[in-house]
């Protein structure tokens, strides 16, 4: 049987206005208008959704198993993470000051700074 059973579309959605788009599942549809029409009721019937993207799978540049090898990196880069600067904690203690670490700095979002 040689029926064209449409094309695969990947569906992405945002749960709330502040959330990022996340991937849901894939569906078959003949074109993107139909794909969009199918998306919410197929995958998000029971959850809030404020925005949807449908993307033809054929338009996605993915990676082959071999290409994924290019994602590897050596674990020798602590010069660019806080892990490489942990020694400062002891130094600041010597000067009787608290360390401004990640936890402390991220807490500044609230607006307080003592």
């Amino acid at each position: 049987m040689t029926e064209t059973f449409y094309q695969e579309f990947e569906v992405f959605s945002k749960r709330t206005p502040n959330a990022a788009f996340t991937h849901q599942f894939s569906l078959l549809a003949p074109n993107k208008e139909m794909a969009l029409l199918m998306a919410q009721e197929n995958f998000m019937r029971r959850e809030p959704v404020v925005d949807i993207w449908v993307v033809k799978r054929a338009d996605i540049r993915g990676m082959t198993p071999d290409e994924k090898l290019m994602l590897q990196r050596l674990d020798n880069k602590d010069y660019r993470t806080t892990k490489g600067y942990g020694y400062l904690k002891k130094k600041w203690r010597h000067y009787e000051q608290q360390m401004l670490d990640e936890k402390e700095i991220m807490s500044w979002q609230g607006g307080d700074s003592k």
Binding site: F5, L28, E33, M34, M38, N42
Partner: protein, 261 residues
């Protein structure tokens, strides 16, 4: 509200309730049988939403003293029903459990024309003098965005596809328009419904419907067939299709009306 006024309001509410009840029923007959699985799932939401709308209208009828919502939905006989004959018509020959020869073109055209009419009526009901009905209309309106986009997309895409599809759609449009005459009618209670300003006049709404539909048809190069009235469902005149529908819909409920299910 006088008793005559209450009866006029009830008449309108029955029309709205019975319309969505039968429309949802015919929609649900397509479960498992739609052209492809994703569409099966998507269109069943539309049937559910509409059954939900019917339940809201029956609830309103219960509140104005007509009886219990489930009884109103399941017990009333064909001559007591006020739905448009359009929504009671079968989806195609054959019973849905054996050899149904359902016609998707008919489903799409019926659903599109009905939903457009529903949108026009709901917009008018938002201004109803009966505030609970106006509030209900605002809620129903929210779900109509999707219903209308869904059926309009199917309608236009099928018309813009193959010659076979166009022919089937044209044939379906004839059948749908032949039953459309009673959709905007209000039946015997017309005058009082109008006086009470429950909803705007039939002519006005029909006009708005034409205005909404015409640009779509022009774009697709489709001529609207003549609108006819076969039966006036608003006055309890119905086709034999309704009897079969009602006996199925009430089959279990009528086994014991006092039982809790």
């Amino acid at each position: 509200m006088t008793e005559t006024e209450r009866l006029a309001l009830a008449s309108l509410l029955y029309q709205l309730a019975d319309d969505d009840f039968l429309y949802a029923y015919r929609g649900s007959e397509w479960l498992g049988l739609a052209p492809h699985i994703e569409e099966d799932v998507a269109s069943s939401s539309i049937a559910q939403d509409s059954m939900g709308h019917a339940a809201m209208y029956y609830q309103l009828l219960e509140e104005i003293g007509e009886g219990k919502a489930d009884a109103l939905a399941h017990v009333r006989l064909a001559h007591e029903r006020k739905n448009s004959v359009l929504v009671e018509r079968v989806n195609g020959p054959g019973y849905y459990m054996e050899n149904p020869e359902y016609d998707w073109a008919y489903a799409v055209v019926r659903n599109y024309c009905y939903t457009l009419a529903k949108k026009v009526r709901i917009d008018s009901l938002k201004k109803s003098s009966y505030t609970p009905l106006a509030a209900l209309a605002v809620k129903v309106n929210m779900e109509l965005y999707y219903h209308l986009l869904h059926w309009q997309t199917w309608f236009t895409q099928l018309y813009q596809s193959t010659e076979t599809a166009r022919q089937k759609m044209d044939a379906a449009l004839e059948r749908v328009l032949a039953d459309f005459g009673d959709l905007f009618d209000y039946g015997e209670a017309s005058e009082l419904i109008d006086e009470m300003r429950l909803i705007e006049g039939q002519g006005i709404l029909l006009d708005r419907w034409y205005q909404a539909l015409t640009p779509v048809l022009v774009d697709l190069n489709v001529t609207l067939p003549e609108m006819k009235m076969t039966y006036n469902g608003r006055n309890g005149e119905h086709s034999p299709d309704l009897n079969d529908a009602l006996s199925t819909l009430g089959e279990v409920y009528l086994l014991d009306q006092s039982a809790v299910w």
